[in-house]
Symmetry: C2
């Protein structure tokens, strides 16, 4: 499975979130053989869970495993420090990022932990989220936090 | 409510986790008036959720609010980078840490984001977790990850 194909599954998740009335951000995780082992989308508004970022929801669906070091995680939006911390905690070695223009994410944290990443800046990811933000500025402000963006 | 009293609620949560057969790590969150607004314990083994660290579970129970900047979070074990990222994302300004001897946690990340913290090194926190680790070394190895400890 190519990086774009993995990202496309994350985009499917983002579309599902949008259909549920949530923020359109999605994530997907594959193993070394290209099998999808986890997928999920941001559920903050659907479940009132402030930790329910897309990457967290995808990781929850993986369950308890000891082979995280063989995984690749794709996310439609550059991961925040919480999600980057999840990635470093379980040592997922490679990340595919669909959009780092809307927010830059905690790329310095990824780099500090020797996590490699490719930034695709896919127009579907960018346009879907930007359209939602334009339509829901107060909701976006409520969940984005104000963290120092790149650490 | 004093820092020790807030930590004592986190310890109650850790004891509850132990009673459920889980890792005895707990967390509690209070607002500026000293009201408990969130509490939880590590649920990784109970729910097969790799993201269910105590601080994450406590934050989930808070729900969606816009006054995180007035909160104090206590945790029986020094927070990892994922949980420190949660703290910085919602800008919780002050943390009470019950034990930083078992693992040091991502204190550099807290400091980088101007999060203040007090380390109590409470013997109940330390002894309860260390006893569990001694009895469950394989389970501990499965969930602790191998992240660079202080970043």
């Amino acid at each position: 499975m190519t990086e774009q194909e993995l990202l496309n599954i994350a985009i499917e998740e983002a579309r599902q979130g949008l259909a549920e009335g949530g923020v359109p951000i999605g994530s997907a995780i594959m193993d070394a053989q290209g099998n999808i082992v986890g997928r999920g989308h941001n559920l903050i508004f659907q479940t009132k869970d402030p930790t329910a970022h897309a990457e967290m929801c995808a990781a929850r669906s993986v369950g308890i495993r000891n082979d995280w070091k063989s995984f690749t995680l794709a996310t439609t939006l550059s991961p925040c420090l919480m999600c980057s911390g999840l990635i470093t905690f379980y040592q997922i070695p490679h990340i595919v990022i669909g959009d780092d223009t809307t927010v830059p994410g905690a790329r310095n944290a990824l780099a500090r932990h020797n996590i490699s990443y490719d930034i695709l800046n896919d127009h579907t990811c960018i346009d879907m989220l930007q359209t939602w933000i334009d339509q829901n500025p107060q909701k976006w402000a409520l969940i984005i936090g104000h963290e120092h963006p790149e650490n």
